[in-house]
Every structure is written in C-alpha cells, then in structure tokens.
Symmetry: C2
Subunit: 214 residues, 2 copies
DNA sequence: TTAGTTCTAGTCAATTTGACTATAACTAAT
DNA sequence: ATTAGTTATAGTCAAATTGACTAGAACTAA
C-alpha cells in the first residue's frame, strides 16, 4: 500500500492519498483493492513489493517497509491467502507521475468506501503505524522532496496526525534534530517572506530488510 | 522465538534467555535453531505460532506478537523459505515449567554461538525490537508474574537495556503510569524492608492480531 | 507607502528529568 | 536489646524540555 501527499480539493492543503486498483475478477469484482500480487520463486519479499508497485501504478517509492503479514483464515472467501503487506511513501513529484486509469485511481486515505477483502483493516493499521512512526521517528521527510521548508514538514504532521501544531514550537523541535540540515536556498514565489529550504540527511528505517545496507 | 527471564548463574540477577532446539536433520544438522514449523491450512498465523511453541517447548506464552516476515532468497541452502516469525514473552513461573531435553535447551540471549539459517540475525532484530518497545511501551510487565515489586520491574529494564537505572527516579516514572496498580500486599522474605507489590492492568499490544479483542 | 501574509527568534511559566539526600522498615549479627 | 547492613521510599533541587504566547523580519500585492 502506498501513501502520498496531494493537495486537498477544497483547502489545497496537503492530505494523505493512496492509490487503489479495481478488481476485475471475482471475488469482490468491481470493488477497489490494494495493489498486490503473487510472490515468485526468484525474488525477495521487498523486491516483489517494489515490482508489484511498479507494474500496477508505475511508482518508484522513496521508502518501502514491511507492514505486517496477514494470515487469517477467512480473508478471501475462495481460498486461504497469506498476504505479506508492504507500505511505501512516495514523494509528491513521483506521485504526480503515477499512472491513473479506469482501474487505478487515487483516494483520500480518510474517505474510503468499502474495499475488497480485509483491505479496510489493513489500511487502518497502516495509518495507525504511520501516525505512530511520525510521533517518534523521522519518517515524515520521505513524503517530501529533497528540499523542503519547515512549514511543509509541519503540514505533513498536521495532515497525518489531523491536528494543528504551533508553528514556532514545531520549528524549534525540528531544528533541534541533527538529521535536518539547513541549506542556503530559499523557496521563492509565495506572497510572503520566503522560507529557508532544509534537507533531510538521515537514513530510512532499521528493518531487517534495510539495516544491512549502510 | 521466546524470551524469558532467568537468574544469571553468576550474579543471580535476572537476565534474558531464549529456548533453542537442536537440528536433527540437514541442513545445519547439529546446530541450534529457533523453534518453528510449517503453517497448516486450517490455522491462523498466530495459532500456528502458539501451537509450534507448545509442541516444541511446552510453553504457553503470556504475550505473543508478530515479529517480521523473513523472505530472503538464500535463507536456506536447499530451498526457498519464507518464515513469518512471532516472538513471545513468558512469565518466570511458566518458563520454569518448560521442557528441557537433549535437543531443547535455554541459552542466554547475549551469549549465543552460531545458529542455523539466518537465526542469529532474527534474534538480533528481536532484541532490538524488545529494547525499543521497552523504552516506550508497557511490555516489560509481560516478563513478570501477576504481582511484582518496582525493583523487579527495574531489574527487567536493566537486563534488557543492559545498563543501570536510578532506583528512585525509576520508581517515580513507573508509578506515574496509570496502568500500574498498587496492591495492599508486600513481598516478605528478603533481608530488608519488604517492598510493596504492584500489578499491571494494561492490555498487550495493538497489532492487527490483538487489537480486535478488547 | 501601506496592508497582508508567513517566517523566525525570543520570552516565560509549567512540566519533566537526572543526580542526589535522607529517612523508613526490615533481617542478621553481636 | 542493640547495632550494623540492606533495600524501600519520599523528597529536594537544578537542568532540560515543553506549551502558550509576543514581536519583529521579510517578502508580495494593492
């Protein structure tokens, strides 16, 4: 499952979106579902996740991590299925390039209808994990491009945590983390004082899949 | 994989131990390995984990949670294997009951030799997750019995984090968490002032496997 | 030149943390 | 009975962090 920031239709502020694919076969034909597919013999779990992502949406994620292995007995009405679910964060520029079609479409993460299989529950869990990681770790930056303003970081937090944060106090905390690097560039084009651009220098996560690559 | 507290041979203070089983077949015949086995068609992932645990060690865990799905291509030299690993915490009274034999033995988590497959890496990751959860959550209590003293909780933290903590400050923090309940009982038998017994009233974790059972 | 906007630095009280002191309550030895 | 030894427990105090707020800086648009 993929998360990306896109501007809300109404306010224009960034909100969380996820791409879904329409089921063209039974079971749940016609309903929307998370993209996915079988694991082949010659690819690791992570490789299979990237491949599936690329094949269905054309996206190349900035961040890819294992979410959970779902293996309940009645996930599919027709057969026993174990799904090892990965979740990805993609930058806005990437997300804009994603292939949309009759059967692939972006949805706001907080406004989903009934999805196929147990996919609503999977998304709920992914959202919970995302909020959790956000509260602690340095995951928010993977939803942004290489350069960003501190206000943009704050908007990511506000979109995911769904509450407003004090701009001044938020600045102070973000600037105190060593992984944030000040650049000499400023974002021009606003109707106000141009904010300084920053850059994230930290590493992704510490999962078994990632921790070996330094 | 299972964690339990047992007294260190030298100091007598509690330390982390895990039970391993000896491989009686190739590959890695003779080496120690994590207990495990195949997933059958009619059981959920969690059920399979409990069953395997019970069958190999006789243990009934107090806490059971999914750790990670390992699916690298070369985990086993003979075939492609995907392992969905669970980790368990068992109380000392339970752990004392575990079946030990020629082919099942407890080892100190920080003093393991070379194990079969990628099991050293799996244990490293589990230890990292345990320390992480300990730093935040309320997981330490699942390594203790129903009643415990605050000094015992501190010893768990000290064993897992491998550093000493100030008794007075630790008390203050633990007592501030709402999930800890003071009882009217005291632990007798020490050579000193008898400490008050406490009790943990919180719920386990919030994994997909557990979150539905309130 | 002025109004409007966001960026950014700073103040200050409230809360939390870390290091430490002191007393309480028990057992074991004298 | 007294004393020494041990851990339990409460409390103090300065340092660090957090939350609410103020105010000036730096830009655009009218």
């Amino acid at each position: 499952m993929i998360f990306a920031l896109r501007p809300s239709e109404k306010s224009g502020r960034p909100t969380l979106w996820i791409p879904l694919v329409r089921r063209i076969r039974e079971p749940f034909k016609g309903l929307w579902a998370l993209p996915g597919g079988p694991l082949t013999h010659s690819e690791s779990l992570q490789d299979a996740a990237s491949r599936n992502l690329r094949e269905t949406t054309g996206l190349a994620p900035n961040y890819l991590e294992q979410l959970y292995a779902f293996g309940g007995l009645h996930r599919s009405p027709t057969q026993r299925v174990v799904s090892i679910v990965y979740w990805a964060l993609v930058q806005p520029t990437e997300a804009a390039l994603a292939d949309e079609s009759e059967n692939v479409r972006w949805f706001r993460a907080d406004r989903l209808g009934e999805l196929a299989f147990d996919h609503n529950a999977i998304i709920d869990y992914a959202l919970w994990r995302l909020r959790n990681k956000m509260a602690y770790g340095s995951i928010a930056y993977h939803l942004l491009g290489e350069y960003f303003t501190l206000a943009q970081v704050r908007e990511v937090y506000e979109a995911v945590l769904d509450r407003e944060l004090d701009p001044a106090n938020f600045r102070r905390q973000v600037k105190a983390t060593p992984e944030i690097e000040e650049t000499d560039h400023y974002l021009q084009g606003g109707k106000h004082r141009p904010p300084r651009l920053y850059r994230f220098t930290g590493r992704p996560g510490l999962d078994p899949d990632n921790r070996s690559t330094p």
